[in-house]
């Protein structure tokens, strides 16, 4: 059964690594729904968050293939339930629409979105949330004419109280010290 999974990979920061990771997916004809790369809480270690929609078996294998890359420290996969995650969306609508009716402002408030910038021509609105939430606001705004829209890749953090990577790094350091 296909379902959404979040793959979270920790890497050394190297040029070309992102390429190596995406090759793992393209070779297996698995579509990447979104990908985010950023620094992690641990110095010098980068974190990649990749969202896919596929069967568990495939996701398990892909996670192993990612981890097999020399510069990857560790890769985990999670279901959506195991993580807290958000995406950020930006919408640009004509300011005229905002002036003509208070419906628009109401909608922004209802969706817990906020206005980032207003100029005479356009207004930029920001909303963070799950994809369906940012999509819902998009659907609502289309009535007023959305000039531009962008949604980010997912950022996610586990629900588990321990940071798996820190634990992992302690084990890894112990292993390396022994060898």
């Amino acid at each position: 059964m296909k379902q959404e999974y979040i793959i979270s990979a920790y890497s050394e920061n190297h040029i070309g690594l992102l390429n190596r990771i995406t090759i793992v997916f393209t070779r297996r004809k698995v579509n990447i729904e979104s990908i985010t790369a950023s620094e992690s809480a641990i110095k010098g270690i980068f974190k990649l968050t990749i969202v896919v929609n596929d069967e568990k078996e495939k996701v398990v294998n892909i996670t192993k293939q990612i981890e097999k890359q020399v510069d990857i420290l560790k890769a985990f996969y999670y279901t959506n339930e195991e993580m807290i995650f958000q995406e950020i969306a930006l919408y640009k609508v004509p300011t005229k629409a905002l002036m003509e009716t208070d419906q628009l402002e109401k909608m922004i408030r209802q969706h817990n979105a906020r206005i980032l910038e207003i100029t005479p021509e356009y207004t930029v609105i920001e909303k963070t949330g799950h994809k369906n939430e940012t999509q819902e606001l998009f659907n609502g705004l289309t009535e007023y004419g959305v000039l531009q829209f962008i949604r980010s890749g997912r950022v996610a953090i586990t629900r588990s109280p321990i940071e798996k990577l820190s634990e992992f790094l302690i084990q890894r350091d112990a292993l390396l010290a022994k060898s």
Binding site: G16, V70, D71, R172, L176, S179
Partner: protein, 584 residues
């Protein structure tokens, strides 16, 4: 001591600056490299220039094509267990390595490939002979890296050798920009022993080990299949001791061959599409299947849906990504085959599975009657591939290293060679690269000059890298070349005969007189068309000191059996052409 060597010594002592190019050579020497296979060109010239001063310390073999260099390095690595090294220029030189790198990746062969690159200010500008070799080779290397500054050279080379040879070995590529080759820096070398993000081997899981031992001890029909992992971890002795104690019958994959003596009473033969009858059908009858250092390639498993469904599977494997990739294992023992087999041996009970082993022997009798005896003593006028291979095995007391190319010649070589020593069978397994044989045989012979190296090659495959006759002649590499000429791209023709109604679409191939071609390079040889001349010719070949070629005109439409048609179950192995007709 030459002036240069004196200077090197001085620079070592005084910590003087040297060029990146010299650092490349000195780093290779530090890693124990004895031989490099390569081809020069503009963007690697500084390294070649540095090599000139070290030519007594480091032997360079100038192949006739970069593909020849990489296959030679593979042959060297497979025969010796050391890491093979290639040195080539940028652009076309680098891209010519690709086939061999892909081949080494899938067959887990340790290689370090060094490519020249345009100067870093020119990177990405489509400069002359610039190709993004790091990008191109990414999916087929274990690791690759571009060096743009000379001081990265020693640590990167150290890392490359460490990654190539440890864990599941594989090819590594280092691309070095020209300015990094010419720039100077203070050289210092330290070998690499650890990388934080790369753990080549995990500690053995004791609990799983016990579970595996329990399973093995209670098995009625245990069966062990071994792959190249046994060679790679040097576990030949442990494998033998383990099966001898437990009485478990064993069979090898194509790349596992020679890890266990062919004539060992518990060695049941070869697995796979053209493997032996017993080893294939018994896979679907055993109750415990112990897979050692093999990756369940589809040429071994056939249809996965019907593969070993009745068996509990124990998978001994160093690469975590291979666990449950193709075949789900009940117990996965992650780690080095040698260590795990040693530990399992301690826990395993002494047993004899006589009636089970006899079942294999019965299957062998069937194969003997239906396939082997007629392969070895054909009633046809034309010579069969099997009898040639068998004769070579007899004449060399099964002590030669057998290298093969790809096709029917490869399967005949694998089926009819007997092996007495480990690392005696070198062939392109996973990628099935035609053209692999000739350069690989040359590389193998250079690595193990004391052993006889015999190549079996088809008329098609030989012409893919035939230019390496030149290298063999120049370097006087005494490889023995046996061309099995069926005037067809035989293996494809066989498929056309069996599955495409004999529509021989573009598989008939006209070849030159190979004996004359070899002679033009200064390699002696003979053409054999009659069975009665074969023995003597092979003797002459084996007695000759230098390289030698024998072209045998074999039966045009000979077939390799048994055969598991692609996608069929291992139980549905066909023993002869009539089996196919009746199954259609």
């Amino acid at each position: 001591m030459t002036a240069k060597e004196k200077e090197t010594k001085r620079s070592k002592q005084q910590n003087v600056e040297i060029s990146g190019s010299e650092a490349v050579i000195r780093s290779l020497i530090e890693e124990g490299t004895e031989i490099i296979f390569g081809y020069p060109g503009g963007q690697i010239m500084p390294v070649y220039d540095a090599l000139y001063d070290y030519r007594n310390a480091l032997r360079h073999i100038l192949t006739r094509h970069e593909q020849g260099a990489v296959h030679a390095a593979q042959g060297y690595a497979r025969a010796t267990g050391k890491t093979g090294v290639c040195l080539v220029t940028s652009g076309p030189g680098a891209t010519n390595l690709i086939t061999g790198i892909a081949d080494a990746m899938i067959d887990s062969t340790p290689l370090v490939c060094i490519t020249g690159q345009v100067a870093s200010p020119l990177l990405g500008s489509d400069a002359f002979q610039e190709s993004d070799i790091v990008g191109i080779s990414m999916p087929i290397t274990k690791w690759n890296y571009q060096i743009t500054s000379p001081d990265e050279i020693p640590s990167t080379i150290a890392k490359a050798f460490y990654i190539a040879a440890t864990g599941r070995p594989g090819p590594v590529l280092i691309d070095i920009t020209k300015n990094a080759q010419t720039g100077k820096f203070k050289y210092k070398y330290a070998k690499c022993h650890k990388i934080r993000s790369y753990i080549p081997e995990f500690p053995v899981n004791k609990e799983k080990l016990n579970q595996a031992a329990d399973l093995i001890n209670s098995a009625k029909k245990p069966y062990l299949i071994y792959g190249q992992g046994v060679h790679l971890s040097g576990a030949e002795k442990e494998l033998k001791q383990f099966i001898e104690k437990t009485g478990i019958p064993a069979a090898g994959t194509l790349l596992g061959l020679s890890a266990l003596k062919t004539n060992h009473p518990l060695n049941m033969g070869m697995l796979g599409m053209h493997g032996n009858y017993g080893p294939n059908i018994k896979t679907n009858e055993c109750d415990v299947l112990i897979a050692v250092g093999m990756r369940f390639d589809d040429r071994v498993t056939g249809n996965l849906k019907t593969y070993a469904k009745q068996a509990k599977v124990i998978h001994i494997e160093i690469d975590p990504a291979e666990i449950n990739k193709n075949v789900k294992s009940d117990i996965a023992l992650l780690g080095d085959a040698k260590r795990i087999l040693k530990l399992l041996h301690l826990l395993a009970e002494k047993k004899k599975h006589l009636s089970w082993v006899n079942e294999f022997k019965d299957a062998h009798e069937i194969e003997m009657k239906k396939v082997i005896s007629s392969d070895l003593n054909p009633e046809t006028l034309g010579i069969g591939m099997a009898e040639v291979v068998n004769k070579v095995s007899e004449l060399t007391n099964s002590s030669a290293v057998i290298v093969s190319d790809v096709g029917q010649n490869q399967m005949a070589a694998a089926r009819y060679s007997k092996f007495t020593t480990s690392r005696s069978h070198i062939t392109s397994g996973g990628l099935g690269t035609m053209g692999f044989g000739l350069p690989a045989a040359m590389g193998a012979k250079l690595g193990i000059p004391d052993r006889e190296v015999v190549l079996f090659v088809g008329d098609g495959g030989l012409q893919m890298t035939i230019q390496e006759f030149g290298t063999i002649a120049q370097e006087k590499v005494p490889v023995k070349i046996v061309v099995l000429n069926n005037r067809f791209l035989g293996m494809v023709r066989q498929w056309q005969e069996l599955f495409f109604e004999k529509r021989y679409s573009f598989t008939e191939i006209l070849s030159p007189d190979f004996v004359k071609v070899a002679a033009a390079y200064g390699i002696p040889g003979q053409l054999i068309t009659k069975r009665k001349d074969l023995n003597k010719a092979l003797q002459t070949m084996l007695e000759s000191k230098g390289p030698y070629l024998i072209e045998v005109m074999v039966e045009k439409e000979d077939n390799i059996f048994p055969m598991i048609p692609a996608g069929a179950s291992v139980s549905d192995i066909l023993l002869c052409i009539n089996d196919i007709k009746s199954s259609n």
